[in-house]
């Protein structure tokens, strides 16, 4: 059994190659079946717009990540609050956001709430909407992290005479961070993909840029395949980051 668990380098390379061949063959055969010839050269003339869109997607995703972390932390604490109104409000917020499609939320917030309160800038509105949406998920990640901390840790903290603040700083926070960081990094991948829906309110990020280009050059397949590739580059990088963080997490909990 052991030799299966530790494959040799040659085996790894062979297997990866085989997988690549199977996937490529599937794509190639699908295109051949419908007689599709792809020509990616027209995309080159839009390279500036595509790069701008790519940047905008990254900016919006990171801004949303930061705001949704803040909001997520607040609502996670709110959920555990002894003030019942606050607790219910946070729970209701999470239920509603997680129970409705992002598309509906975008239209609702931009055209009704945004108009009512004078938020007319699409980019600001987009970041706010995306933050509110993702915070509900992050809140659950944080809540799960807090609940997973062993009660014994607090007992030990008290027995060695730590104050509440010290306990939070030296016990709760480090353990919590180590546990939830991989999940948070994974959430960043979701934010990147979810940000594509902001295209419906004409936020000119990567997806909207591609849609606009498709409307002009009619090379829909090339454009969208390339779009998928660009998103994959972003999410693959995030996924590598997640792996690395998971490794660190294991390291920190090593006996």
């Amino acid at each position: 059994m052991k030799r299966f668990r530790n494959p040799t380098v040659i085996n790894k390379v062979f297997s990866a190659l085989a997988v690549a061949v199977i996937f490529a063959a599937l794509v190639w055969l699908s295109m051949k079946r419908i007689g599709l010839n792809l020509d990616f050269s027209t995309l080159f003339e839009y390279k500036k717009r595509l790069f701008d869109g790519f940047k905008m997607t990254i900016i919006i995703s990171f801004a949303s990540l930061i705001f949704s972390m803040l909001l997520g932390m607040l609502t996670a604490m709110g959920q555990r609050s002894h003030i019942l109104v606050l607790c219910y409000a946070c729970r209701a917020y999470i239920q509603i956001i997680r129970g409705t499609p992002l598309l509906v939320q975008i239209y609702f917030f931009f055209y009704i709430v945004g108009t009512a309160w004078g938020i007319d800038n699409r980019y600001i509105a987009g970041v706010i909407i995306l933050s509110i949406f993702e915070a509900a998920y992050i809140s659950e990640i944080i809540r799960g992290g807090i609940e997973s901390i062993d009660k014994q840790e607090y007992e030990i903290a008290r027995s060695i005479g730590l104050t509440d603040i010290q306990t939070l700083r030296l016990v709760t926070f480090p353990i919590l961070m180590a546990r939830i960081l991989p999940a948070l990094a994974g959430q960043l991948a979701s934010i990147i993909k979810d940000s594509s829906l902001l295209s419906v309110i004409a936020v000119i990020e990567l997806t909207q840029t591609t849609q606009e280009i498709s409307a002009a050059n009619f090379q829909m397949f090339e454009n969208y395949i390339f779009l998928g590739l660009l998103y994959f580059i972003l999410t693959f990088a995030v996924s590598m980051l997640t792996k690395w963080l998971e490794g660190r997490y294991k390291h920190e909990n090593r006996d």
Binding site: I10, S15, A18, L26, G35, I201, A215, M220
Partner: protein
């Protein structure tokens, strides 16, 4: 290790063989149904009736075309940006969706002779400073267009100083003008007229054509001359038989009267 690699290669090969065998099966359609693609989001040309079935001027036109060709008809509802790709991949035989004949589109598909004409017009928020098409290309003016429409092309080309928002649906554009998020929505005369009628307190319509007339054609896959020739004969015959007058009377009697009084050109003139 060797056994593992063998297993992987064998499974990869068997998958490939299965795919190849599957590809061998003919994918051709058995019947000769005329599949017509249109976006059912442009009443009264392409829309749905209360049962959700396709209805409107273009659907009637599609049915009459199929009758002329002696083929059964099937109407496929496809989003605007997906119409031309559907032709390219053979998902539909012909697109009848109030599509303007443009040089750009001609590179990808073949168009029939024009069967109708339209003009672009402006739906303007009442508080906006825009009073004519000359006011459009200025800093600070927000212009909404629907993605992929000729208004989209017009805005990209001519409105380089204004802020242009490209939205996916007509409703979003109208909402933004009504709310004042945008100054102007550019679309065809009929839509602008109708949207203005239903939002009289917040919008005004500028109906003076802002560019030359646009010709609508039916589109087929590039090189499908056999079908295209038949379609052209059908359109000529339909015109001389008064088919378009019947469609006007059925779907747009009131609008036709208003357009005549205001001196605006009609679609089928």
């Amino acid at each position: 290790m060797k056994r593992m690699a063998k297993i992987i290669i064998m499974s990869a090969l068997s998958v490939l063989i299965m795919i190849a065998a599957f590809t061998g099966c003919t994918a051709s359609k058995a019947n000769n149904t005329l599949i017509v693609g249109m976006e059912l989001a442009y009443p009264p040309f392409e829309t749905k009736d209360t049962n959700g079935d396709p209805s409107g001027i273009s659907t009637d036109l599609a049915k009459d075309l199929a009758k002329y060709l002696g083929r059964p008809v099937k109407i496929e509802n496809i989003a605007w940006t997906g119409l031309i790709p559907s032709l390219q991949t053979g998902k539909v035989d012909v697109v009848i969706s109030s599509m303007t004949i443009t040089d750009e589109r001609k590179k990808t598909v073949d168009f029939s002779d024009p069967y109708a004409h339209s003009y672009l017009a402006l739906l303007v928020n009442k508080k906006s400073v825009v009073n004519s098409s000359a006011d459009l290309n200025k800093k600070g003016i927000v212009v909404d267009v629907k993605i992929g429409t000729t208004a989209n092309t017009y805005a990209d080309k001519n409105l380089t100083n204004a802020t242009v928002n490209v939205l996916a649906s007509e409703n979003a554009c109208v909402t933004e003008v009504v709310q004042g998020k945008a100054d102007v929505f550019i679309y065809d005369q009929l839509t602008i007229y109708r949207q203005n009628q239903s939002n009289l307190d917040s919008t005004k319509a500028i109906m003076i054509p802002i560019q030359d007339k646009e010709n609508w054609g039916m589109a087929v896959k590039k090189g499908n001359t056999a079908l295209l020739n038949k379609i052209n004969t059908f359109i000529a015959k339909y015109k001389s038989d008064g088919g378009f007058e019947k469609l006007t009377q059925k779907y747009l009697p009131q609008e036709k009267k208003t357009f005549d009084t205001l001196g605006f050109p009609w679609f089928f003139d």
